[in-house]
């Protein structure tokens, strides 16, 4: 301690006093800084807790995304076959070669890759180089197509796998193709097969491959109705990528699962024949034939139709079809909603019978019209039917009888019976889309539509004869007939469910749907069925034109003439009706009447009377069905000899 300066002395003294050299200030301020530091560290800890623990899982998902690139492999769409295995729609697989982006690929790398790839791809060097240069752009997120439309053999010959490390990937693509059929068959099948189109609406649970460019989904017809079966499951290849987007290695490789082949219940020949008969009868209309035992749709005809193949090929024709006032693109059989008219009397009759408000024997008077609450409702027969029981009322389609039956049953019972018979419903498992729901009105429905007036008695009475708000599609009317004929809740389907899941159709006749019975007494159904047979086969029956007259087949059915315009009901009209004012002609039927196998519904737009216009069409269809059936029936050893009853 030799070199003690005066300065040091002074400082030592001041230290002893405490404050002057700043010891106190320093301690105080150091404490402040220390606390501030602790607070900041606490803040950092809180921030890390937020980022890592509270928001960690969410970032983890991003991390997984960051680390991998998933390439979805679209599945091959399933084929559509007719009942005999004729291919109606299939898919063609082609391949394209893609270059996926990576950051920091140098121009030298690219030109080397181009010179190696070009000869193998059979492309000009400059074309490949152009694609690569585009991919070189640093932040370009989209893959580049190097070659397109290659066949499997092309790809095998290329050995593109050797370029995998350079982010070159082979991707399959599928094009829907509709094989050549003869034009009449194409036109007959166009509505049924339908078409695919671009995905125009995504939802979160969509299959990921639907977001791929060029993805197609069923839009209409069986393509849409069987979409889930046809679509298949996408495969995927997951690459681990580094921050530059380079494929480091494959983490996961899952093959795509092709869509199932779908075999229709439709036989092209029958469909074409029914289509021909329908078109011959009227230019706008629909006809549906169901197999009553299985619900199989045997024919689903809608006219006018269009040439399916031509539409898939050419865009201009599509626009023309779309703007055609006859609306050929609309499948009237499933989406045409018509007032069912007198065919709906089945529903009214069963509703009143089941409620015990009318007995089959009870006679109701008809003097040409009937008045309720000051409103007069007319019978189609201005002379009246004097008095009708159920049998006569159905046979001669007496309106007064059903006005009264409807009044007694009330709209809710009528609506319940309609839905028991399959009306007002979309058949989700039918395998064809779109379908319209039709309309079975109820007071609740009307309240939801308007608050102006409540449900009126007159609306019940009109509904009783299938007018007013009531609407049904031809398919629904065919289901109604199948249910009445069988007493079971027949559900329609255009797809054979007896065919296995394999790629190729496999027949397995042991599986037949067993439909549950209707909640309707067999006595009432039997009485109704007798009356329906009388419509075609007894004097005074409105549907005698539907008698196939083949010496063996009896038909049960019901006519319907549904009023479209008030003008057609005006008995004092002087001008002839315009086309649009004419009534729709309907005929619903099943055959054979005593052992029902086929249910039929026909609608001819603006054709006039159901009995005279649609009746002959039904007769034609029954003849077609029975003729087609004959070889099979003859083979059966105990097949009952066909005999026409009196």
């Amino acid at each position: 301690m030799a070199a003690t300066t005066p300065n040091d002395h002074r400082r030592l003294l001041q230290s002893a006093e405490g404050a002057a050299d700043g010891t106190m200030v320093f301690s105080r301020r150091a404490l402040v800084l220390g606390m501030a530091n602790a607070a900041v560290f606490g803040g950092l800890a809180a921030r890390l807790y937020d980022l890592q623990v509270l928001n960690g899982p969410q970032q983890s998902a991003l991390a997984e995304d960051n680390r991998t690139r998933t390439l979805w492999v679209p599945p091959m769409r399933g084929q559509i076959l007719d009942a005999n295995g004729v291919v109606l729609a299939s898919s063609r697989e082609t391949f394209r070669i893609m270059l996926y982006p990576q950051r920091g690929l140098t121009l030298a790398d690219a030109s080397r890759l181009a010179s190696e790839l070009a000869p193998r791809l059979g492309m000009e060097l400059s074309a490949v180089a152009a694609g690569l240069k585009a991919a070189l752009h640093d932040n370009r997120p989209l893959p580049v197509v190097l070659a397109d439309g290659l066949s499997y053999d092309d790809v095998a010959a290329l050995q593109v796998g050797t370029f995998e490390a350079a982010n070159v990937v082979v991707e399959p693509q599928h094009q829907r193709v509709y094989p050549e059929l003869k034009p009449s068959a194409r036109i007959a099948m166009a509505h049924i097969v339908g078409s695919v189109g671009a995905v125009d609406r995504f939802s979160l649970d969509d299959d990921p491959h639907l977001r791929l460019k060029g993805a197609r989904v069923g839009k209409v017809g069986v393509e849409a109705g069987m979409e889930t079966a046809l679509r298949g499951v996408a495969g995927r290849t997951v690459y681990e990528i580094d921050a530059r987007g380079r494929h480091v290695r494959r983490l996961d490789d899952r093959e795509s699962v092709p869509g199932r082949a779908v075999t229709l219940t439709i036989d092209i020949a029958l469909q074409e024949a029914v289509m021909g008969k329908l078109a011959a009868e009227n230019d706008r209309g629909a006809a549906v034939v169901l197999d009553i035992a299985t619900g199989a749709i045997l024919a689903l005809a809608s006219t006018p139709s269009f040439d399916g193949a031509a539409v898939h090929a050419v865009g201009a024709q599509w626009r023309e079809l779309k703007s055609d006032p006859a609306r050929p693109l609309v499948n009237r059989a499933t989406t045409g909603q018509y007032p069912p008219g007198s065919t709906f009397k089945l529903v009214t009759a069963l509703a009143a019978l089941e409620a015990g408000l009318v007995t089959p024997k009870e006679k109701i008077e008809c003097w040409g019209d009937v008045t309720y609450s000051g409103h007069t409702y007319r019978c189609w027969n201005r002379k009246g039917h004097i008095a009708s029981d159920l049998h006569k009322a159905i046979r001669e389609s007496c309106d007064c009888y059903f006005y009264e039956a409807a009044r007694r049953a009330g709209i809710d019972r009528i609506a319940a019976m309609a839905s028991e018979l399959g009306l007002g419903e979309v058949y989700r498992d039918a395998g064809i889309a779109p379908q319209k729901r039709g309309l079975i009105p109820t007071p609740a429905w009307k309240r939801s539509r308007t608050t102006r007036t409540g449900w009126l008695l007159g609306e019940t009475i009109l509904a009783g004869i299938g007018q007013g708000y009531v609407q049904a599609t031809p398919l629904q009317l065919a289901v109604m007939m199948a249910r009445v004929a069988s007493g079971r809740k027949v559900v329609p389907s255009i797809v054979r469910h007896d065919v296995g899941d394999g790629h190729h159709a496999r027949s397995d006749a042991t599986r037949q749907p067993e439909f549950e019975p209707l909640a309707i007494s067999e006595t009432h159904l039997a009485a109704l069925r007798r009356a329906l047979k009388a419509v075609v086969h007894e004097g005074g029956g409105t549907g005698q034109a539907a008698d196939p007259d083949d010496g063996r087949t009896l038909v049960a059915g019901k006519t319907g003439t549904s009023q479209v315009s008030r003008a057609s009901a005006d008995r004092d009209r002087t001008k002839p009706l315009t086309r649009a004012q004419r009534d729709h002609a309907l005929f619903v039927a099943y055959a054979p009447a005593d052992a029902p196998r086929f249910a039929i519904a026909t609608v001819l737009e603006h054709a006039g009377s159901g009995g005279t216009e649609a009746g002959p069409l039904v007769a034609d269809i029954v003849r077609l069905l029975m003729a087609r059936d004959r070889p099979t029936a003859a083979r059966g050893a105990d097949a009952p000899a066909p005999a026409k009853e009196g």
């Binding site: 700043g22 890390l48 890592q52 623990v53 960690g56 983890s60 960051n66 580094d242």
Partner: protein
């Protein structure tokens, strides 16, 4: 004076070192080595081994520096500051450009970053100034406040121009911190804060375009997800991927697959946080906190103003490094390029810190 204790021998000086502090520092450096090993994909090359060797060398240097009486360094403070300022001023003229910035110069075949020398020199110079002033009241006299400010602003403004915003902020923060601890009147600080608030609108004309862009991207990372915002977004993903317990050592997918930029330098904390999770991050934070607390305790016990301020300056340097770095990688402040002390790869910053630590350890001793 017979009653005074004899000067301690070199051996006694070494035994008397704050070993707990050195253990803490070494633990931090070891974590740095382990993390660098991991981000290299599980290899000592190219970073972990050199990091470890450098730390060992720097540790020896720190111990060596702590041995002579601290007055020795105190007397060198002025000359070192002047040399460092000269080097800093020379950088734009003779500096070597790397990564778009001119920060290095060659002195006798060794490339050094003058700003790192300045970080030590500034602490020493300010401590010496206040030591010489002696009285806390004199520290608040305008001429001395202006001198201290000049000592801070000259190197800071030279550094901003390199451009090295991170170092400039560090210099300014440490300098102001020492002025605060030395007892400069709080009115000056209030006035300073008011001045800064007034200057903010002028920033666009003062800062480099890339610095402005970093700030803009910081405020809205979505603006440039693959460019400058990429740093922040990727850091956030990697940290979140760590969760509470981390992905496990050597299993941080984000950092190992190059998604995290600057993963071995400024963003190393992200790699650490991904592999060790929140738990690991807290351990690291706690280690830094304990080192800082130990230094502050040493400062409070130190005998002279120079010692106090030197030790406290070193503590502040570490604290500011840590706070800016972690705030930066967690997206709290713009990316300004500040390493995580002793963990980030980089020799100069580590040596600077260890030299400061050596002087601080020497200063803590009573003779």
């Amino acid at each position: 004076m017979f009653y005074s204790r004899p000067l301690p021998t070199v051996f006694e000086r070494i035994v008397g070192l704050p070993w707990l502090l050195l253990v803490g520092v070494t633990a931090i450096a070891a974590i740095g080595c382990a993390t660098l090993y991991s981000v290299a994909g599980g290899a000592f090359d190219p970073w972990a081994a050199r990091h470890g060797l450098r730390f060992g060398a720097a540790l020896l240097v720190a111990v060596a520096i702590s041995i002579p009486p601290v007055d020795y360094w105190r007397h060198l403070a002025g000359p070192v500051y002047i040399v460092a300022l000269g080097l800093l001023a020379a950088v734009p003229l003779v500096g070597v450009e790397a990564l778009g910035a001119r920060r290095w110069i060659n002195v006798g075949g060794v490339s050094i970053q003058p700003v790192e020398v300045m970080k030590v020199a500034l602490v020493l110079a300010l401590a010496q100034l206040y030591h010489a002033l002696g009285d806390a009241k004199r520290a608040s006299q305008p001429q001395w406040v202006l001198l201290a400010l000049a000592l801070v602003v000259m190197p800071a403004s030279l550094t901003i121009r390199q451009p090295d915003l991170g170092s400039a902020i560090l210099l300014a923060a440490v300098g102001l911190g020492i002025m605060f601890l030395a007892g400069v009147s709080l009115w000056y600080f209030a006035a300073g804060i008011a001045a800064v608030v007034a200057i903010v609108p002028l920033l666009p004309s003062l800062l480099h375009t890339y610095q402005l862009r970093r700030i803009a991207v910081f405020l809205d990372p979505a603006r440039d997800p693959l460019g400058a915002g990429y740093h922040i977004a990727q850091a956030r993903i990697a940290l979140g991927n760590g969760g509470l317990d981390g992905q496990g050592y050597l299993r941080g997918t984000q950092s190992q697959l190059d998604f995290v930029p600057e993963k071995m330098t400024d963003f190393i904390f992200v790699a650490l946080g991904e592999e060790w999770g929140f738990t690991g991050a807290m351990v690291v934070l706690a280690l830094y906190a304990s080192v800082i607390v130990m230094l502050f305790v040493m400062a409070l016990r130190a005998p002279t103003p120079f010692s106090r301020l030197t030790i406290a300056g070193t503590a502040m340097m570490i604290a500011i490094y840590v706070v800016i770095n972690i705030s930066m990688v967690t997206g709290l402040v713009p990316v300004v390029g500040v390493p995580l002390p002793l963990i980030s790869y980089g020799g100069t910053a580590m040596f600077t810190l260890m030299v400061s630590l050596g002087i601080a350890m020497g200063a803590a001793r009573r003779v």
